[in-house]
Symmetry: C2
Subunit: 208 residues, 2 copies
DNA sequence: AAGTTGAGCTTACACGTGTACACTATTCTA
DNA sequence: TAGAATAGTGTACACGTGTAAGCTCAACTT
């Protein structure tokens, strides 16, 4: 059941996926990538594309899934770093910025398709971001002993700020990136401080 | 010097701009709008397009400019409302959400082109957002007597949060929008509180 | 060993695209 | 009022697109 044939197929499927990823750049979004171009880059005849995907959208959704996976691996990596000590916020931002540096095109894909024309794509990206937010929410809830609503609001705001900084980092040079990182860290501290503060006040007013 | 001719020309130029705006929707982004389609929608022959714009990009940049203008008018409107009393944050968010409701396609244009493939478009959108942020920064600095850095960080974070909420509102139903509005207001309060707090602390540590 | 399956190929087609070119008709200029 | 300028038109072209049809040949099944 090894399947020398299925194996070969999987291999050229990867070729297509990688070809698509390689063509993505600041100047080239997935939506203006043609089936023919991708097939050519993969070294295949255009029509062979259909042996693996029904259309470009199907390939695109695969890409989004993979991007989400990468993103979650990143989270795990960050958590490991945090366990070794250091500021949670600082380490998270650094880790995220390193991700952008190494996976610019993947991140661009997420950013673009989130506001793109395909409802399916938008949903897929938002799902990935939701996972990301939820993991952070859980973490905050446990680490800071906040109620669920407050920690969710904080997690959600933090993810938005970090993603937006990531988007800006894509076009930034080294110095700008450093400044951007500092700015982001301070902003996350605003949010964390405000969350603690307002949550405490609510507790007092509710008498618990 | 009235120029019956120049007048006519301006009129059909508007026809083109409006045609483009009308074709924008959740399913249709500017980048997959063709010159021929726009010309047809405007009731013109395809080649007449060139009498007004060199290419679609030029039309697109005009659109972005107009969108920015609308956005700034919005700010003024919000400030007027605020002067009549009420929570600054609440009124700002309400005003912004009304803008999204009424100008969904314009807002979509800004969102999409901010992460689009054209550097010129990206720059244009970011310029508009920067204006928007600066106005808010000035306001915060005066109203809350914060230092420039803190009020800038706060303004920047607030704009990011509000824009992101706007993006989500585009796909939301009435109930979701209400919830989204409340969430956003709370998040802006986090940021405002954190900014005040951390700014005060810095002042004390610096001994002034 | 014989027959079936399927990955990849070539060829072919209809369609939408941007834009060059030449033309008409109206407005502007002198 | 004669001539230049120009907004708008219709035709034409080359090009890239998605995809249908049918072929080959290696891998699978029985």
């Amino acid at each position: 059941m090894s399947g020398i044939r299925a194996q070969q197929k999987e291999k050229t499927r990867r070729l297509l996926v990688d070809a698509a990823l390689n063509q993505l750049s600041a100047e080239r979004s997935f939506s203006n990538l043609s089936l023919r171009e991708v097939a050519k880059e993969a070294g295949l005849a255009a029509t062979s594309f259909y042996r693996h995907f029904n259309d470009m959208d199907e390939l695109g959704l695969t890409l989004v899934d993979e991007a989400g996976l990468t993103l979650r691996q990143l989270m795990r990596q960050a958590r490991q770093r945090i366990e070794k000590g250091g500021s949670v916020i600082q380490i998270s931002v650094f880790t995220f910025m390193e991700f952008i540096e190494a996976n610019g095109n993947v991140f661009r894909l997420l950013l673009r398709e989130r506001s793109g024309t395909s409802p399916e794509f938008r949903a897929a990206v938002n799902r990935e971001i939701r996972y990301f937010t939820m993991e952070l929410c859980d973490y905050l809830q446990k680490a800071n002993k906040l109620d669920h609503e407050t920690s969710y609001l904080q997690a959600n705001a933090a993810v938005i700020i970090v993603f937006s900084a990531g988007a800006e980092a894509l076009d930034a040079n080294k110095m700008e990136k450093e400044e951007l990182t500092n700015r982001t860290i301070k902003q996350l501290r605003f949010i964390a401080r405000g969350a603690m503060d307002l949550s405490a006040r609510t507790k007092i007013m509710q008498g618990n």
